[in-house]
């Protein structure tokens, strides 16, 4: 039995290591970052999420929607109900029809979802040189590399190498697949003024907005990990007890007289 397990592990690890590097050749190296939400118990830093939300609001939301996030979800970031109501009320939404059958405009409410910057995809393309700015609700889960990818993308706008010809309306980004991205660099030093006074460096803004968008993609991350710890502790105790019960029952075979 032990021999078989050893053999299986040996075969698997030998096959996998000897294959390593066959597939990974075309992947772009991302600089991995330390995120507060990494690790066994890691969660979100509310202060960082609020800063990241500010970056989204003042920079990204001009072109990118966040369709799965409602204003009410911002309570998760530590905003009060009054703050959320006030923020929502800054937006006007078309609603209706009313009793006369007319559409009308009303201020947004906490239960409303974030308004989209463009009325439809064609409008969005027409306003962006034919490119569609993707919705950001799931962006950190929808890209290989996750939050590390997004952060690296945002800080990797560079002068193109001399042998690369940039197409019309495109920018060079060393992290983006193919190197040419339709979104120009958005983050510049002191572009925004953080409400909490943090210096708004490019690195800081990229990091904060990535953390915010990871919250948007995986809002249940914290409850997932706390639930997990309880479930695993229970299962661990259960398994240990099951092991000793098993030992005890099987020992009857060795001492049939008992």
């Amino acid at each position: 039995m032990r021999k078989i397990i050893l053999a299986a592990t040996a075969v698997a690890s030998f096959t996998l290591t000897s294959l390593d590097g066959l597939v990974a050749a075309d992947e772009i190296a991302l600089v991995p970052q330390d995120w507060t939400f990494d690790g066994f118990t890691g969660g979100f830093d509310r202060q960082q999420l609020q800063r990241g939300f500010q970056v989204y609001l003042e920079v990204c939301s001009a072109c990118h929607s966040l369709k799965y996030i409602a204003f009410r979800n911002l309570e998760d970031l530590g905003y009060s109900e009054a703050q959320i109501k006030a923020l929502a009320a800054e937006y006007e939404l078309e609603d209706g029809p009313d009793e006369e059958g007319d559409m009308f405009y009303r201020p947004a409410m906490p239960s409303d979802y974030f308004p989209r910057p463009y009325p439809n995809d064609n409008f969005a393309r027409a306003s962006n040189n034919g490119s569609l700015p993707p919705d950001l609700s799931l962006i950190t889960k929808a890209r290989v590399g996750g939050p590390d990818y997004l952060y690296n993308l945002l800080i990797s706008y560079e002068e193109p190498p001399s042998d690369v010809e940039i197409m019309f309306g495109m920018e060079y980004n060393s992290v983006f697949s193919g190197g040419q991205i339709a979104m120009p660099q958005q983050l510049f030093e002191d572009l925004i003024e953080y409400a909490d006074g943090t210096p708004a460096t490019v690195d800081q803004m990229a990091r904060d907005v990535t953390a915010f968008l990871h919250w948007a993609a995986e809002p249940k991350l914290e409850v997932r990990k706390t639930t997990g710890i309880r479930v695993v502790l229970f299962t661990l105790v259960f398994t240990i007890l099951a092991y000793f019960l098993k030992e005890r029952i099987w020992s009857r075979l060795d001492n049939p007289r008992d």
């Binding site: 698997a12 597939v23 066994f40 997932r224 997990g228 695993v232 299962t235 099987w250």
Partner: protein, 408 residues
């Protein structure tokens, strides 16, 4: 006499006389089913697969209550499950990763059968039922993967249903019939949802047959010899129920580590992008448990032959009991077979790896070698080593082997 029995006991006997379901269960997985006493931990994986099936059905029913099978709403409804449905994220992560762990359990179960010769007489029908279960599982997993209607869902459905166009003459008609139209669209999603709900219950039915067929000859064992005498066997309950419970605990610990700390590790990021028929992903790949078959499909340059090879890789298992000419069941006593068994394991890992790579250059070459070896193993090596191999001496009885081990 009757007076001495408690009320509970008498009530039970009254009920059991009219519907002996408890007695029947006792014969199936209880004290009346005797199993060889030397089963090792690889024999846990059948029960583990059964438990994963139950977990999948239980979570799946609740997911279906919140899911909308429509091309315009499916992706949104999955996100609603993840964000707004109470514990919906937990149900979905258990369900999605549960499918992977079902396959992990089944693949270990299958390779255990291959190593210990569990497919040999008198268990051929049991083995066949297992292959039918594998095929049903694949159908359930494939239709289920389409439901979230992400990019990989859509394009996997497109690639796989297009395989049927390779069938001469009637291929196109069959494909339109599967789609319910002229491309993968809303009717396809609707029928896949219906089928995804149906297959698990078909699986439950075949599992019953599988266990029934198991009980006729009884379980095989690591020595591969028939259990004789009472000293060779122990009652399934409590010996194997408690061993299965312990094994389940270990298996669940690994499962929970993935569910709670890396729930998207086994998935593809592209499936968090809503399906778009106008945008083809740069690299379409199935879930990990299909990568081996996918590598075989793409290893062969001809579409029809590729499809035949892919299905053949599963169907060759049906004739395996007659391809293996050795009369010794367990690989433990077959020195040559043992080596080729591990080469086959390595070959399957290699093919899985190649299935994830782009079909060009080195991975394509390796997948061709791997595909050749897979069929070569079953169609040539197994029959031949059965004839030329000199097996090691097989012990007379299970109890003799167990007691000699204790003497060491």
């Amino acid at each position: 006499m009757d007076r001495k029995k408690g009320v509970g006991r008498r009530a039970f006997e009254w009920f059991d006389a009219q519907l002996p379901i408890v007695t029947w269960l006792d014969h199936v997985v209880g004290t009346k089913y005797v199993a060889p006493r030397n089963l090792n931990y690889f024999w846990n994986f059948g029960a583990l697969a059964g438990i994963m099936l139950v977990i999948l059905i239980a979570t799946g029913i609740f997911l279906a209550m919140a899911y909308t099978p429509h091309v315009d709403h499916a992706f949104d409804s999955v996100e609603r499950i993840m964000r707004d449905v109470n514990s919906g994220w937990l149900l979905r992560y258990i369900h999605a990763n549960g499918a992977s762990f079902f396959f992990i359990a089944i693949y270990i179960h299958i390779f255990r059968g291959l190593y210990y010769g569990s497919y040999k007489a008198p268990r051929e029908v049991l083995w066949w039922l297992g292959i039918i279960l594998l095929i049903c599982m694949m159908a359930a997993a494939f239709t289920g993967y389409v439901l979230p209607w992400g990019q990989m869902s859509f394009w996997a459905a497109t690639v796989i249903t297009n395989l049927f166009t390779a069938i001469p003459v009637i291929g196109d008609s069959i494909t339109s019939w599967l789609w319910g139209g002229f491309s993968v669209d809303n009717p396809t999603l609707n029928r896949f949802f219906a089928l995804h709900f149906l297959f698990p219950f078909a699986i439950v039915g075949v599992v019953v047959l599988h266990i029934w067929a198991l009980h006729i000859p009884g379980s095989n064992n690591p020595l591969g010899i028939d259990a004789s005498g009472p000293n060779d066997k122990v009652p399934f309950h409590p010996y194997y129920t408690v061993k299965d419970v312990f094994g389940l605990g270990v298996f669940l610990l690994i499962f929970f580590a993935i569910v709670f700390w890396a729930p998207n590790f086994l998935g593809h990021p592209d499936n968090y992008i809503q399906a778009d028929p106008l945008v083809t992903p740069s690299h379409i790949v199935p879930e990990w448990y299909f990568l081996m078959l996918y590598a075989i499909l793409r290893a062969i340059p001809d579409k029809l032959l590729g499809v035949i090879a892919m299905f053949g890789a599963v169907f060759v298992l049906f004739i395996l009991p007659w391809l293996d000419t050795s009369r010794i069941r367990s690989g433990t006593f077959r020195p040559v077979f043992k080596i080729f068994f591990w080469i086959l394991v390595a070959d399957c890992i290699l093919l899985t790896y190649c299935g994830a790579a782009l079909p060009e250059g080195m991975p394509l070459l390796l997948s061709r070698i791997g595909t050749f070896w897979y069929f070569f193993h079953f169609l040539f090596i197994l029959p031949v080593i059965g004839w030329i191999e000199v097996p090691k001496p097989v012990p007379d009885s299970i109890s003799a082997s167990v007691t000699s081990k204790h003497a060491d």
